[in-house]
Structure formats: structure tokens, C-alpha cells
């Protein structure tokens, strides 16, 4: 019984650690993004709160928490309040399966450095991605506003379309690792990371994951110039904050999944595992900020053409080629 209790406390400790790091990083990614965007556009960026604007996320957090939580008269109250919760929680839940280090052995017991190593981990990540569509679609619908509805419809269509490419692009990785478990996929990359043998899968996954996260150049659902802010235009206070949080956690999810599938997860020379994973996550987040500062927005038909006519066939061909190589060698 005491062993069970101990296991429970270790699990809680791991959850606390992961959530703290993820939420803190999400807050500071906002600052990093604003600072970098400022530099890319020959501005300085936020620098009033603390040195280099280091206290800016805290100021933003306080502002969001104390603002009024407006629910419109015409809105569907319950669903309107539920939608941001879905977006934020689905993004956070993905971190339950990301392995962040080598198992530690204390007193003969092995403690895995992952919250939960389920044998269908990869499918779990996709299930959460597909459920987060509800947050976007319902947020847009329940606001009872035409801009929000258009944003929600665009968001749902875009996420459904790119989910296919996302899922198909990762099949070769599963074929090579021989498992859906993220721990096993990382272990299969002990010799070399999969990006070397699967560059095409990496490119397809990266592009479609960028589309899933609805960031520029795929930010049709939010397109400021035509829809105001899309599906979250009617939200205020912390409910808007949850959408915002969801987006920045989604950036980290994307970085972490790319690290696990293609860059060997927490594996790397010299430094300990969790540090390597963090470096890879932050590196990809910075690349995404760079892309945001560089590229203009896609047109809607270009978005669909890219997803259905280029990425999905390329992913299918990649699966066939990988299969031939696995059978041949």
C-alpha cells in the first residue's frame, strides 16, 4: 500500500513539474515572440516592465485575470464558456505522453521520466488534436457573430484537412520504430535521429503541424484584416487568455512532437535529457516566430490545394517508399 501511495506522489510531482515548466514557458514565449517580432520589424519590442521587459508576461497575466469576463446577450452561454477550456486543456493534456528524460533508478525501482507511457501514445496525441477542433468551431458558433462564425468554420475546415496529412506523415516513423509508444519511438532513435532517414516526413509534418496550430502563414481562421480576430473575437478577460494560452502551449506541443518523432526526443550529447528537450522545443518555437515574421498569409484555395493535392499524396508516396525499403533491407 505504501508503494502505491509513493507512486501516486511521484506521479503528482511529475505532473506538477511538467505543468509548471509548460505554463511558464508559454508565458515567456509570448514575450520572446513580441521581442523577436519587434527586432524583425526594426522596433524594440516591450521593454517597460522590468529589465528587457522581463516582467511583461506577469503584467499581462494580471491584466487578463482582472478584466471583466463578458458573455454576450446573444451568445449560447454554456458553450461559449466551454470553448476556450477545450482549446487550452487539449493542448496541455498532450504533454502527458512526452518523454523528457532517461528513466531514473532509485532503490531498485525504475521511475520513467514521462507522465504516462501508454502503448497508443501517438494516437492519443492525434485524438487530442482532433478534439481541439471543437474548441475553435464551438467558440466561433456560440459567439453568435458573423466574424466569429466565419473564423470557426475556416478553423474547423483547415484543421480537419491538415489532420490527415499530419497523421499520414508520421506513419513511416511508426513503421521504423515499430511502436505507437512515444518512449519506444525515442528509444528507436538511439543511433541516429529519424530526420536523417525521413526528411520528407519531417517537412510534411512540420507544415501540417504549423497549419494545425493556426499560425501565420496558416492563420486564415484569425485573419485580422478580414475577420477582426476570427473565432475568439467576442472573448474578453481570461477566456481570451485561455485561447491565447492554448496557442502558445500548442507551439510547445508541436516542438515537442517534432523533437520526439524526428530529433531523438531528449537524446543529445553532454547535456541531461530534459535540457535537450527544452532546447529543441524553444528552438522550434523561435523558428515559428521567424516564419511568422517572414511569410504572408495563404489564400483559402491555396491552403486547401497545399493540404489535399500536395501534402497528402506526398505522405502516401513516402509511406510506400519506406515500406519498400523496410522489406528490402
Amino acid at each position: 500500500m505504501w508503494l502505491w501511495t509513493l507512486g501516486y506522489f511521484i506521479l503528482m510531482a511529475k505532473i506538477t513539474l511538467v505543468l509548471t515548466v509548460v505554463l511558464l514557458l508559454a508565458a515567456y514565449l509570448v514575450l520572446v515572440e513580441r521581442k523577436l517580432l519587434g527586432r524583425f520589424q526594426a522596433r524594440i519590442g516591450p521593454n517597460r516592465a522590468g529589465i528587457f521587459g522581463i516582467l511583461q508576461p506577469i503584467a499581462d497575466g494580471i491584466k487578463l485575470l482582472v478584466k471583466e469576463d463578458v458573455v454576450l446577450d446573444g451568445a449560447e452561454r454554456g458553450i461559449f464558456q466551454l470553448a476556450p477550456v477545450i482549446v487550452a486543456s487539449m493542448a496541455l493534456l498532450t504533454f502527458a505522453i512526452i518523454p523528457f528524460g532517461k528513466p531514473i533508478i532509485i532503490g531498485g525501482h525504475e521511475i520513467p521520466m514521462v507522465i504516462s507511457d501508454i502503448n497508443v501514445g501517438l494516437l492519443y496525441a492525434f485524438a487530442l488534436t482532433s478534439l481541439s477542433v471543437y474548441g475553435v468551431a464551438l467558440g466561433g458558433w456560440a459567439s453568435n457573430s458573423k466574424y466569429a462564425l466565419l473564423g470557426g468554420i475556416r478553423g474547423a475546415a483547415q484543421m480537419i484537412s491538415y489532420e490527415l496529412a499530419l497523421g499520414l506523415s508520421i506513419v513511416p516513423v511508426v513503421m521504423m520504430a515499430g511502436s505507437f509508444s512515444l518512449v519506444e519511438i525515442v528509444n528507436a532513435q538511439a543511433k541516429w535521429p529519424f530526420i536523417i532517414v525521413q526528411p520528407l516526413a519531417f517537412i510534411i509534418f512540420f507544415i501540417s503541424a504549423l497549419a494545425e496550430s493556426k499560425r501565420i502563414p496558416f492563420d486564415m481562421p484569425e485573419a485580422e484584416a478580414e475577420l477582426g480576430a476570427g473565432y475568439h473575437i467576442e472573448y474578453s478577460g481570461m477566456r481570451f487568455g485561455l485561447f491565447f494560452l492554448g496557442e502558445y502551449v500548442q507551439m510547445q506541443v508541436l516542438g515537442a512532437l517534432i523533437a520526439v518523432f524526428f530529433l531523438g526526443g531528449w537524446r543529445g550529447p553532454f547535456l541531461p535529457g530534459p535540457i535537450w528537450l527544452l532546447i529543441k522545443i524553444i528552438g522550434f518555437s523561435i523558428i515559428m516566430v521567424w516564419i511568422r515574421a517572414t511569410l504572408p498569409r495563404f489564400r483559402y484555395d491555396q491552403l486547401m490545394t497545399l493540404g489535399w493535392k500536395i501534402l497528402i499524396p506526398a505522405a502516401l508516396i513516402n509511406i510506400v517508399i519506406t515500406g519498400v525499403f523496410i522489406v528490402a533491407f
Partner: protein, 175 residues
């Protein structure tokens, strides 16, 4: 009563309630959402029975893909509240009684004819790899046939859509 059976009954009650809500809601979006909750409940039941693969597939395919498409369509229709019919309750009662008698008879027959039916179902754990091997070594022909069928349906839908578009462009040329 183990903790598993308690969880089972909680989930089962949740599923029955949400399915009941789904069929009685007048607002279509609410109905779709209750149905999603019901699907998530059945995914949890699969997890409880030791089949995480089926549970996850249930979430991805039903809750994550099919119901999203339902929601997508329903969201775009302006839904007028349907007119109340004169006395629908009578029809409901008749159908309910018939279904109830049928269900009760099946359960009774099962309990009488098969003693094993009284035992609780044993949980069976199947890894995704075992499941895949079983499916593609024993039932490969059925799977190939189903996928061909889906392909035919896909091409058919494309053909119908394209012919509609062609007709419209022809009309445009004529005018």
C-alpha cells in the same frame, strides 16, 4: 463491488443520460455535443476493459472526425425550432414498449440458454501490434474489399460534384 465496476456504472449512466439528451434536444448543435459526450463515454469503457487502441480509435474516428463533420454542417444551417406535432407521445410509447419487450426477451433467452452470460465479461488486453497482425492476417480480404468500396464511394462523390460543376459552366457559356 470493485472500483472498476463503480467506474463502469458511472460511465454507463453518463452515456445513457447523454444519449437520451442527444435524441431529445431541439437545438441540433446541443444534440451533436451530447452525442460526442456519449462517444467519449464509450471510449472510456474500452479503456476500462483493457482495449486502449479501440478506445483511442473511437475518439479519433467518431468524436474527432465524424461528429466534427456533423457539427460543421449543423453550424452553417440556421435551425428553426420544429413545429410541435399533435400528439407524438403516443407514438413514442408504442415504439418504446415494442423495443422494451424485444430487448427483455433477448436478455431472458440469453440468460436461460447460456449460463456463461451471467458472468461479468473478462477484460482482454490486446496490444496494437497483436490487433494489427490479427486483422491483416485473418481478415485481409474483407479489409481490402471495404477499402475498395470506400474508394468507389469517393470517386462517385467526386464524379457527381464534377458533373454538377460542368453543367453550371455550360449554362454560363450559353448565356
Amino acid at each position: 463491488m470493485t472500483i472498476y465496476s463503480i467506474i463502469f456504472y458511472i460511465i454507463a449512466a453518463l452515456m445513457i443520460i447523454s444519449t437520451g439528451m442527444a435524441v431529445t434536444r431541439e437545438n441540433m448543435v446541443h444534440a451533436v455535443l451530447y452525442l460526442v459526450v456519449s462517444f467519449l463515454g464509450s471510449a472510456l469503457l474500452f479503456f476500462l476493459l483493457g482495449a486502449p487502441l479501440l478506445g483511442i480509435l473511437q475518439v479519433i474516428i467518431y468524436a474527432g472526425a465524424i461528429m466534427v463533420l456533423f457539427l460543421f454542417i449543423v453550424m452553417m444551417i440556421r435551425i428553426e425550432p420544429p413545429e410541435r406535432r399533435a400528439s407524438p407521445v403516443r407514438h413514442y410509447v408504442a415504439v418504446g414498449v415494442i423495443c422494451g419487450i424485444y430487448f427483455g426477451a433477448v436478455v431472458l433467452l440469453m440468460l436461460v440458454s447460456e449460463p456463461a452470460a451471467r458472468e461479468p465479461m473478462a477484460s482482454a488486453i490486446a496490444s496494437p501490434a497483436d490487433f494489427g497482425h490479427y486483422l491483416f492476417s485473418r481478415h485481409w480480404l474483407a479489409i481490402e474489399m471495404i477499402s475498395l468500396l470506400l474508394l468507389v464511394a469517393l470517386i462517385g462523390a467526386l464524379h457527381l460534384g464534377l458533373s454538377g460543376m460542368r453543367r453550371r459552366t455550360n449554362k454560363g457559356d450559353a448565356s
